[in-house]
């Protein structure tokens, strides 16, 4: 699959602090790429490097194959951005704000109506931005990013500050965006749930380094499967299961409910292994089981594993 965004060894320092450290990332075309990392991990700095707002100390960044450092104007025509600081003029209407950018981009006036329609903001276009809710501003920011139909959209924390309803609304909108606009979306966030429900691919940034990248489904498939066993006698369950070679541990988060978690390697037949565990605990061990349920492979696990594996090197 061709790449919409490619970086190679991208590095940026602020004094002695390395904000972005040798990042090599690939965002496939027409994907929704969830760019994850906690606050301060280097996401916004990476985005600023991709937009040519900051200069890289080392490495390259290409947008649709064009190097942002050597041909910024051409690369910038292929990328639309919704940044954390939206930068709207409150004294102007939404329509007028879009018109300013439209003029600078040299686009026809009809572009405004098109993007307002895509962002479902047509009804509010004539109101002053000062009167907009945060959710409406975010949508207007999306509309502005889509002016001229750039093949790449970079959205930095688009759900920041939105209420739960606004987040759900934005999530649905983002999921449909590649189909609606034909664009590749780089979606930066520190909210795992948001990325898990929206992204097709992810990249996890930790301490400025890209510690994990790939198609979300593939990465999840590579995770160990977990089965939760709820019992009155968790200590006995642990003992019996370990005696029979199972990889088990107490679920500390559910200690009061006596939950034990068994982990099975990726690729193992989980149904078969779960039946075996059930037989061992009930028949051989005499453990009374209340519930036995496989757990979903989650992005949270992926994120935790990636962040943990990165932590010692970063320290």
């Amino acid at each position: 699959m061709p790449s919409a965004i490619e970086t190679e060894g991208l590095t940026r320092r602020f004094g002695n602090r390395v904000a972005v450290d040798d990042v090599t990332m690939t965002v496939p075309e027409r994907s929704i790429y969830g760019f994850l990392g906690r606050n301060g991990a280097g996401k916004t700095t990476t985005i600023k490097l991709l937009l040519g707002l900051l200069r890289a100390d080392a490495g390259t960044a290409r947008i649709a194959g064009i190097d942002i450092a050597t041909d910024r104007l051409r690369a910038a025509r292929r990328i639309g951005a919704l940044l954390e600081a939206q930068g709207f003029y409150p004294n102007l209407s939404g329509h007028e704000n879009l018109d300013l950018t439209r003029r600078l981009l040299g686009l026809p006036a009809s572009e405004i109506d098109r993007v307002l329609d895509v962002a479902e903001m047509t009804a509010h276009g004539r109101r002053r931005v000062a009167d907009y809710s945060l959710g409406m501003r975010q949508r207007l920011g999306l509309a502005r990013a889509m002016l001229g139909a750039p093949p790449v959209l970079v959205l930095d924390e688009p759900t920041n500050g939105l209420d739960p309803e606004g987040i759900a609304d934005m999530r649905g909108f983002l999921r449909e965006l590649p189909a609606r606009s034909g664009a590749t979306v780089l979606l930066s966030s520190h909210l795992l749930g948001e990325i898990e429900q929206t992204a097709t691919h992810i990249g996890i940034l930790s301490h400025g380094r890209l510690v994990l990248e790939g198609a979300l489904a593939d990465l999840k498939a590579g995770l160990a499967m977990e089965v939760a066993v709820e019992t009155d006698t968790p200590e006995r369950a642990l003992l019996v299961a370990r005696e029979h070679g199972f990889d088990v541990a107490r679920d500390e988060a559910m200690r009061d409910r006596g939950v034990v978690v068994a982990r099975f390697a990726a690729g193992e037949d989980v149904r078969e292994a779960t039946s075996a565990l059930n037989r061992v605990l009930c028949i051989a061990g005499g453990v009374r089981i209340h519930a036995l349920a496989p757990r979903q492979r989650s992005l949270e696990t992926l994120y935790r594993n990636a962040a943990l594996s990165a932590a010692p090197a970063a320290a």
């Binding site: 602020f14 600023k48 937009l51 040519g52 707002l53 900051l54 200069r55 910024r72 104007l73 051409r74 910038a76 025509r77 292929r78 990328i79 951005a81 940044l83 600081a85 939206q86 930068g87 709207f88 003029y89 409150p90 004294n91 102007l92 007028e96 018109d99 300013l100 950018t101 003029r103 600078l104 981009l105 040299g106 686009l107 026809p108 502005r144 001229g148 139909a149 750039p150 093949p151």
Partner: protein
């Protein structure tokens, strides 16, 4: 997207003018000359007899060049720069496929355009104020005919001489997101221009250069006009180069 033409500098200028809609900067541009005209009007009504047109026109130009222009430029440049600083719009603008110097040059040309418009607005309002005062109180009607061409030429020279002042104030206002540095420098500069009116060094003080267009010494007038205009161009060029290179870290 590539099928659309690359925007020209004129577009950046038009966009800057567009941003002034319903802005405080535009309100300031309308009100500052109006205050001078109001002063001229009430000053005439206080008198017992009429004076030549030249006196009123000279008074209006002097107040403008001496005090109101430096203060207005200070406030105007701060407000125009705050159009971007306030909503943190620089990142958005600088990420666009537009040469960055276009953005700053558009802003500089827009501010100069507003100052030029303020000068013309002042001329119009002053003429109206003197005429209106004469209608309300015929005893103070201005004597003779106004030398409108001479008055406009004087305001034009004051405008050209103010370019250095505009360039210095705009650079500071664009460089710092806070109002404080621009206002401190502008108020400080105007203060020294007022208290050291007769100082020789005033000829090179950007905040005092415009008022030198009212000097009786033609050499001083020409020197300050050249310094204000050419110096302004040089500072504008340096500003465009420096700001275009600068990264926005905030």
């Amino acid at each position: 997207m590539s099928q659309f033409p690359a925007p020209r500098f004129a577009t950046a200028l038009a966009v800057e003018a567009y941003k002034l809609r319903r802005s405080l900067a535009l309100l300031l541009a309308a009100v500052a000359p109006l205050l001078i005209a109001v002063f001229v009007f009430f000053n005439l009504l206080r008198a017992d007899k009429g004076a030549p047109w030249a006196i009123s026109l000279q008074t209006s130009a002097a107040i403008w060049a001496f005090f109101m222009l430096p203060m207005s430029v200070t406030a105007l440049t701060a407000l125009v720069a705050h159009t971007e600083h306030g909503p943190r719009a620089w990142d958005h603008l600088r990420a666009l496929p537009v040469p960055r110097w276009h953005l700053y040059a558009g802003k500089a040309a827009c501010v100069l355009g507003v100052v030029a418009a303020m000068s013309l607005w002042l001329a119009l309002l002053t003429l109206l104020a003197v005429e209106t005062a004469g209608v309300i109180k015929p005893a103070v009607a201005a004597i003779g005919a106004p030398d409108i061409a001479g008055y406009l030429a004087l305001l034009g020279r004051i405008f050209l001489a103010a370019w250095l002042l505009v360039a210095v104030q705009l650079w500071i206002a664009l460089r710092h997101a806070s109002f404080v540095p621009a206002l401190a420098v502008g108020i400080g500069g105007t203060f020294f221009a007022v208290v050291a009116t007769s100082a020789k060094v005033g000829a090179v003080l950007p905040w005092q250069i415009p008022v030198n267009q009212l000097a009786t010494d033609p050499l001083r007038v020409q020197f300050t006009l050249a310094l204000g205009c050419i110096g302004g161009c040089a500072v504008f060029a340096a500003m465009l180069w420096r700001l275009s290179q600068r990264e926005v870290l905030g």
